[in-house]
């Protein structure tokens, strides 16, 4: 059973999607570690280390995603999580921006997959399957 850490980063309190992601991933047969809303990069990383997770799924809904996610890949590496997969999704920047730009910015930050607004967790299940090789 693969382990996925989920949570909502920064000062973000949007809890609904987080609960639905939890429910959906568990239903799809994953071991889900949910650190909830208002979580820092460190919270994610510590949870991943403790549970030997395969994937960290960062949610950011409230618009500060760009600020909140900076340096996360570097921190993972520092903590010994060289190979961990990093996803980010929700409404990750402020406003309706050209998504290609956003994608580029987050890819440069080291995220493996970056989802545009309106991508429900169901639509990402295939990617997860592929990346975790099950």
């Amino acid at each position: 059973m693969k382990t996925i850490v989920i949570g909502v980063i920064g000062a973000d309190v949007h809890a609904v999607g987080n609960k639905i992601i939890d429910y959906t991933l568990v239903n799809s047969g994953y071991n889900v570690i949910n650190i909830g809303v208002l979580s820092s990069q460190e919270d994610f990383i510590n949870a991943a280390i403790e549970t030997d997770a395969d994937l960290i799924m960062v949610s950011s809904l409230y618009g500060h995603g760009e600020i909140d996610c900076r340096g996360m890949r570097e921190k993972c590496i520092e903590s010994g999580l060289e190979d961990i997969l990093l996803y980010v999704g929700g409404n990750i920047v402020v406003g309706k921006q050209d998504f290609n730009e956003t994608l580029k910015r987050f890819k440069e930050m080291g995220f493996d997959r970056v989802y545009p607004p309106g991508t429900s967790i169901d639509l990402a299940l295939n990617d997860i399957k592929e990346d975790l090789g099950e």
């Binding site: 809890a15 609904v16 609960k19 618009g63 600020i67 409404n91 402020v94 921006q97």
Partner: protein, 485 residues
């Protein structure tokens, strides 16, 4: 700290105030001297006074329009508000960014600086504390309607000081409604106590002859909240505010989606708030209602979003709410552009004017739904008062602790999070799993039967999947999340 539902002693309040103003450098501002603030607030003309304009609208049976809006940079923020005023907004907001909401002023400063550097908003709102009183005054002076601060801040003491000092005559929030949906690990007694301070500040101004409006945040998590739960929270916060001397209160409700249930909810919210205030001896209260357009996930298509905005406005107008808070066609995407925000204002205003002289007359169905909500609210209120051994504030804390009061989908660890809502066959929000919610058995049976009826008609068992389907449904263009097609 010993929490009590009792008007804060003025001396203690002043002492606390000194600490509060040390929270960030802008608290040192001489414009925060109470003499100066009183004078400035007295100079605010009545057409920029929230309480005054609300009272007038209520008298004429009008529904007035207020958008949501806030960007980090001062000049841009003013431009935005001026644009929305021109689009037809009767009230203007200043939505505060999320760092400020968590009192993280350093991060807010960083976000503000970077937004100015990059000419691109990196904050999701206007960091009023970082801007300070002077800048906030500039905002007020640039427009011709009242301004309200809208946020989601468990500890809004410094923020409230600054905005009122700047002549903003309404403050949204409350000890429950700005904690449970907006925080994870802040104890209720802390946020309630903080909001007693904010209310006491308004009460102080009231004593100086200055009318300031307070608006508990009705929609809570915005997600399938059963009307009785949000109405109960509204009534509690109205009572807590009244105790601190607040006189002008707007209780809120977030659209559920079924017309009859929504109209019933707003009507009973208004009448029960008045009833409870009277019962606890608060006199000369001015009570109005605010209706929030659909607060859950929006459809991505902009024409569909405009339809949802218009439908929400229709329900608001038929429920005779005094104020209507609008969304924009960009809702599902992100903070709207000025123009998109204006479209929401225009559509909403058009509808409330079209419906100005119309009303939904009482049908048996509407009456029954109102009776139900009132009975449910009474169950919850009695439970709160009982566990509080007579003290409402204490009762609230204990009721949440025990799950007697419980808000679906809330992030707070001080919320039991045991109840699950689902829609019935008419699309009305009912409760599928009650957890420990303090409701009479016959009410629980009623909910169960309603949901059973739907489950049967959909050929499935009652389960959390119904709740999940209902969370998504409106964004997919259906009120009820039915399986299949």
């Amino acid at each position: 700290m010993k929490l009590k539902n009792k008007k804060l002693d003025l001396k203690e309040f002043f002492k606390e105030r000194e600490e509060v103003l040390c929270g960030w450098k802008t608290g040192n501002d001489s414009e925060l001297d109470l003499e100066t603030t009183v004078e400035y607030l007295k100079s605010v003309p009545s057409y920029k006074n929230f309480a005054f304009v609300l009272n007038k609208a209520k008298k004429h049976g009008e529904t007035l329009i207020q958008p949501r809006a806030g960007v980090p940079e001062l000049g841009e923020h003013i431009k935005l508000l001026q644009f929305l005023e021109k689009a037809g907004a009767d009230f203007l907001p200043s939505t505060i960014d999320s760092y400020t909401r968590q009192n993280r002023y350093t991060e807010a400063e960083k976000g503000l600086d970077e937004s100015m550097d990059k000419h691109r908003a990196l904050l999701n709102g206007f960091p009023a504390v970082n801007h300070g009183v002077k800048s906030c005054k500039q905002v007020l002076e640039a427009i011709n309607v009242p301004i309200e601060a809208r946020h989601g801040t468990p500890d809004a003491r410094l923020l409230s000081e600054i905005i009122h000092a700047a002549g903003w005559t309404s403050n949204e929030g409350g000890g429950i409604s700005y904690n449970i949906p907006y925080a994870k690990s802040i104890p209720l007694e802390v946020s309630i106590r903080n909001w007693q301070y904010c209310d006491r500040l308004v009460g102080y101004y009231e004593e100086q002859g200055i009318k300031i409006n307070r608006e508990p945040f009705g929609p809570l998590t915005g997600t399938l909240v059963p009307p009785a739960i949000s109405n109960t929270v509204m009534i509690i916060e109205a009572l807590l505010a009244a105790e601190q001397g607040v006189k002008n209160i707007t209780v809120g409700y977030g659209m559920g989606g079924n017309l009859i249930q929504d109209v019933a909810a707003v009507n009973s919210l208004h009448s029960q708030t008045k009833e409870y205030l009277k019962r606890f001896g608060y006199e000369n209260m001015e009570i109005s209602t605010v209706f929030h357009q659909w607060m859950g996930g929006f459809p991505a298509d902009e024409a569909e979003a405009m339809a949802l905005i218009s439908y929400s406005s229709t329900v608001a107008a038929l429920s005779k709410a005094t104020k209507l808070i609008t969304k924009s066609p960009h809702e599902s995407m992100g903070i709207p552009t000025m123009e998109a925000n204006g479209l929401g204002v225009k559509a909403s205003k058009f509808i409330v004017r079209m419906l100005q002289d119309q009303r939904i007359t009482r049908s048996e169905d509407l009456n029954e739904e109102m009776d139900l909500i009132k009975r449910e609210v009474n169950c919850l209120m009695e439970a709160v008062l009982k566990v509080g051994e007579g003290d409402l504030a204490v009762g609230t804390v204990r009721a949440f602790e025990q799950g007697l009061l419980d808000i679906p989908f809330a992030p707070s660890q001080y919320n039991a999070g045991k109840i699950f809502p689902a829609r019935d066959n008419d699309g009305r929000i009912r409760i599928l799993e009650f957890g420990n919610l303090a409701m009479d058995q016959d009410i629980k049976d009623f909910h169960y039967n309603k949901i059973k009826e739907r489950a049967d008609s959909e050929n499935r068992k009652i389960s959390f999947q119904m709740t999940v389907d209902d969370v998504y449904s409106v964004s997919k263009g259906k009120l009820i999340g039915r399986p299949g097609k």
